[in-house]
């Protein structure tokens, strides 16, 4: 007799669940966290109904734990993301992301005359406002605001 197939998408034993990602930012989050290279099991879900976000996405990562400095990078595209740290099927810690003081890579300078848009250079910004994200380019000193923020 054939066993009924069931996908194990529900709970993870140990790892991190990233919830409240805006649905359209899912693939940016995957890119920023470099999930492509992770060998452990990862589950993505997109376009879940969310009262807060309309459509949200969720990522469950087995055996992955992030340093704040790394996870905070996603704050640019998922400012309301919430993290559940799972140990032995239990949520042992909840975290919210915070926009870091400095952004290296990830974002594009909105100034077309900036050297970073004309030569292969890793972008670098000082965050001058966290609420309405505003980034000051380390090179051209121009400010890129939330409205013009493009993720590389």
């Amino acid at each position: 007799m054939k066993e009924k197939k069931q996908l194990s998408v529900s709970a993870i034993k140990n790892g991190t669940v990233i919830d409240h990602i805006p649905a359209q930012s899912l693939f940016k989050v995957i890119q920023i966290l470099n999930l492509e290279h992770i060998r452990d099991q990862i589950t993505f879900g997109a376009n879940f109904e969310s009262k807060k976000l309309g459509k949200k996405a969720i990522i469950k990562l087995s055996n992955q734990f992030f340093r704040d400095i790394d996870i905070n990078k996603i704050a640019l595209v998922a400012p309301q993301a919430k993290l559940n740290i799972i140990k032995d099927y239990e949520v042992v810690e909840k975290k919210v992301v915070e926009v870091p003081n400095e952004i290296i890579g990830i974002a594009k300078c909105m100034n077309p005359q900036c050297i970073t848009n004309n030569e292969e250079i890793v972008t670098k910004f000082t965050v001058i406002s966290k609420e309405n994200v505003a980034l000051k380019c380390h090179y051209c000193e121009r400010i890129t605001d939330q409205e013009h923020l493009v993720i590389l």
Partner: protein, 302 residues
């Protein structure tokens, strides 16, 4: 300041600025010395700027240094598609100091990070031109005897004008009163006003200055640059808005001086040129002494 690149006016603190101004005064007394003998300085002009280049090269030549470089990117390997990084890395091998002008903003900062010798920014697009600011300060201290308690009028394009932004940042080290005179379209950006407010410095905004010019110690005129306007009609509306004429400066303070980064178009009428208050050509000469001071300080010779 030895071995430290000068990319932005913010790279120097108040003491460092004053040190450069002191050195500039020394060089003015004795502008031809042989202290750069044996030094090779590269002047890399990725876009032409004859005035700035000649000022630097004059400063270097008077001190006995040698210059290598190019005067626009068509005569360099840039036309072959070489990256800025590769150009800077290569040229670093040939010289003790790089002076560069580049049309892209942030290029000088980037060059200073990849170069193995110090870099002086001679203008990176609309961003920074710190040696201009230092020569402006030298012109102010030379004509006023001080940098404290001066009433400075900044006139013209205050929105895009990099020289006025850098001058504002530099003068904010001192107890300056600022008067901003510009059309509505070209007002001083909020971030600079906020910066002054946080320091407790006073500023006033006007659209006309004929009534108040008698209060000025320094009138800093700027050109409204056509290339900043996407709409030619907008440019036509503001291009002739501030034209300084000799009769307007009759009742000004005796110590008042008119500065301009040059080139001017029509914002200062030629009838002002003969006035003792017209200082813009001496200001250009001060650029040579100021650049001598900056170069010799970075090379650790002074």
């Amino acid at each position: 300041m030895k071995d430290k690149s000068l990319v932005s006016i913010n790279d120097y603190n108040k003491e460092e600025i004053l040190k450069i101004l002191e050195l500039a005064a020394e060089f003015e007394k004795n502008p031809s010395q042989n202290i750069l003998k044996g030094k090779v300085i590269a002047t890399l002009f990725f876009e032409p700027s004859t005035r700035t280049r000649l000022s630097f090269e004059s400063a270097i030549n008077r001190l006995g240094g040698r210059v290598v470089g190019f005067i626009d990117s068509s005569s360099s390997s840039v036309t072959k598609g070489e990256t800025l990084k590769d150009t800077i890395k290569t040229v670093s091998n040939y010289c003790d100091l790089i002076i560069m002008r580049h049309p892209l903003e942030g290029s000088a900062k980037y060059a200073s990070e990849v170069a193995t010798v110090p870099v002086i920014n001679a203008g990176d697009g609309a961003n920074q031109h710190p040696t201009q600011t230092l020569l402006d300060l030298y012109s102010i201290i030379k004509t006023q005897g001080t940098l404290d308690d001066l009433n400075i009028f900044l006139v013209g394009d205050l929105k895009y004008g990099r020289t006025v932004h850098s001058l504002l940042m530099a003068m904010s080290h001192f107890t300056t009163i600022f008067n901003f005179i510009s059309p509505e379209e070209l007002k001083m950006p909020d971030e600079y006003k906020l910066f002054l407010e946080n320091l407790g410095l006073k500023y006033y905004e006007h659209t006309d200055f004929t009534e108040i010019i008698s209060r000025a110690d320094i009138v800093y005129m700027t050109r409204v640059q056509q290339e900043r306007f996407s709409d030619p009609m907008e440019y036509e509306k503001v291009k002739n808005i501030y034209v300084l004429r000799n009769h307007m400066i009759r009742n000004t303070k005796p110590n008042m001086r008119i500065l301009h980064p040059l080139p001017r178009v029509n914002e200062i009428h030629p009838d002002v040129d003969e006035s003792e208050k017209a200082y813009y050509f001496q200001q250009a000469l001060n650029g040579v002494f100021t650049r001598q001071a900056i170069i010799s300080s970075i090379l650790g010779l002074k």
